[in-house]
């Protein structure tokens, strides 16, 4: 009975509701762009003040356009050293964590074994633990072992927090891997070693590569864990942190801008290259 009664008001209500829905979507569209604008605003400020010509040591108010900071990009040796240290740690730690993380990711994606659960748990803990706790506890380890802090401890720390991310990315690819390919290689007489290098590794390479990129990005941006494990070594974020009170030179903005532009370009190119593959999935 009720069913025969309800359609009438429902159809009456439909036009207004449909209008409401379209209106809602349009409002959400505008809102999405507003939020993106809010996210981008500080980035634009950073880029803009790389072109500023400040008179004093504080680069805070707009005083005129100049390109001279791009010319004098490496005029501050300490800052340049910090940037080089950041890049060096990022390269070394992303390569080591890629090798170690690929092993874990492959094992977890391919085999069922005792200890897989524990490995998953440790990886989950490593991803979700507060950086403050990971950094400070590593500091207590190094202090109680009497190890001096520096480039080595810093790299060790960066490898530590990157492994789980690389392993997760690689595992996701291994799970979707077609085992028939490896079996075919084995049937054709390839040894396990040859199968790995000639079949499995090339298929996993894009995933390993995204793992390396992710680890590199995590490393170069890391502040908290670096703060606890770097000792006297300055990285780019540490240098910025240390110089905030005395005023940041515009070179910091320029370097930030260049890192941003290069990062975005790499991400866009990587995305365009992976597109045809994505459509097949």
């Amino acid at each position: 009975m009720t069913q025969t009664l309800t359609p009438a008001p429902a159809t009456q209500a439909t036009p207004s509701r449909r209008r409401f829905r379209i209106g809602g979507a349009r409002m959400m569209h505008i809102y999405t762009w507003l939020l993106i604008a809010w996210l981008v605003l500080p980035i634009l400020v950073m880029i803009l003040f790389g072109f500023n010509d400040p008179q004093g040591r504080y680069n805070q108010t707009w005083q005129g356009f100049t390109l001279k900071w791009y010319g004098e990009l490496f005029a501050l040796p300490d800052l340049t050293d910090a940037l080089i240290a950041s890049l060096a740690v990022a390269v070394v730690s992303s390569l080591i964590s890629a090798a170690l993380g690929t092993g874990i990711g492959y094992a977890l994606g391919r085999y069922r074994f005792r200890g897989a659960g524990a490995t998953n748990l440790v990886m989950f803990a490593a991803i979700s633990s507060p950086e403050l706790v990971m950094g400070s506890s590593l500091l207590t380890l190094f202090v109680s072992m009497g190890v001096g802090l520096g480039g080595v401890t810093l790299t060790i720390a960066h490898v530590m927090f990157s492994i789980a991310f690389v392993a997760t990315v690689v595992r996701a690819r291994v799970v979707t891997l077609d085992r028939a390919m490896e079996e075919a290689a084995a049937d054709l007489g390839a040894t396990a070693w040859t199968t790995w290098w000639k079949v499995t590794f090339p298929i996993l390479l894009p995933a390993i590569f995204s793992g390396i990129m992710l680890a590199f990005a995590l490393s170069i941006d890391d502040f908290v864990i670096t703060n606890f494990t770097a000792g006297n070594v300055q990285t780019f974020p540490l240098w910025i942190w240390g110089s905030t009170r005395v005023g940041l030179p515009p070179q910091v903005n320029v370097m930030g801008t260049l890192i941003f532009v290069v990062g975005v370009l790499i991400a866009v190119v990587a995305n365009l290259r992976s597109r045809p593959r994505k459509q097949q999935d």
Binding site: V45, M46, T61, F228
Partner: protein, 287 residues
């Protein structure tokens, strides 16, 4: 022979990375726990005495900062749910072919160093900066008005820095929803509001949970935002821990505070993870 190799293979693959995580992630937690129960100082060395009173003293001395951090973290996560949900919803249901582009735009801040991003924020929020100066000129704000140094500035900074971590998991959850389920609800005379409340929102909840997990932990243990944007009335527990470790070298108290903070956060994390399944969280975290 081959079978032995096959059963050994996963262990050999896990071993190097697993050892690394064991020595540099698990063991440090133990050293930190042990250090928190030791007495002594940096010059004369520390002796394990099982002095658990350090915890009582540390927590009673810094309970204000501890509670403040958890409250800031909770407010940050709540504000983020409200801010991020419509965006994730719009991208998931109306993003069409440009979904990836929109997500990429949301992720843009990650291409700028965390510290630098926060400093840019500070420039925007300074008393006579580009945001406040025009509003004061127009008489919309009293000339003595300031944002820096207030809880609002710190929470705004936290919200800004962790926004993508809330949008992504909610987006992933919404993207998985079969549109036919929503259509079915509409066909059964659910109003759009009811369909949202009874169908879409419950299906998005795992994403919201994952988002809370990924924002509450870093936000409540953060010290960068409160240091750069806050003042003396906004000191968070992270600042206390950082300065005790790196400036005053009061390792036992600092370790006790860090351990207490981690205990509180991990209990929360693992109860979430159990409700949600770790695989999902890991998948989201890896993006």
């Amino acid at each position: 022979m081959n079978r032995v190799k096959r059963t050994l293979a996963p262990y050999l693959l896990v071993l190097p990375g697993g050892l690394w995580l064991l020595v540099f992630f698990v063991v440090p937690m133990v050293t930190m726990l042990s250090l928190s129960l030791q007495e002594g100082d940096i010059v004369n060395g520390y002796v394990f005495t099982g002095h658990w009173q350090t915890y009582v003293e540390a927590i009673s001395d810094y309970q204000t900062q501890m509670i403040r951090s958890l409250v800031y973290g909770a407010i940050t996560s709540l504000v983020l749910i409200v801010l991020a949900f419509p965006v994730a919803y719009w991208i998931a249901f109306y993003g069409g072919r440009k979904k990836t582009t929109y997500l990429f735009l949301i992720l843009l801040p990650f291409f700028v160093s965390f510290v630098l991003r926060t400093i840019s924020w500070r420039m925007l929020l300074t008393d006579d900066g580009v945001l406040l100066h025009p509003l004061k000129e127009a008489g919309l704000l009293p000339s003595g008005f300031q944002l820096l140094g207030t809880p609002t500035a710190v929470i705004a900074g936290l919200v800004y820095n962790f926004l993508p971590f809330m949008v992504l998991p909610i987006y992933v959850a919404l993207e998985r929803i079969d549109p036919r389920v929503v259509e079915a609800a509409r066909d059964l005379y659910a109003s759009p509001a009811t369909a949202f409340r009874k169908v879409i929102f419950p299906l998005a909840l795992p994403g919201v949970f994952a988002g809370v997990l990924m924002t509450f932990v870093p936000a409540s243990s953060d010290y960068v935002n409160s240091e750069l944007l806050g003042g003396t009335s906004t000191t968070m527990i992270g600042q206390v821990i950082q300065s005790k470790f790196l400036h005053t070298s009061d390792y036992p108290t600092a370790s006790a505070l860090a351990f207490a903070l981690m205990a509180v956060l991990l209990i929360g994390v693992f109860s979430y993870a159990r409700a949600l399944g770790t695989e999902d969280v890991m998948k989201v975290a890896a993006r």
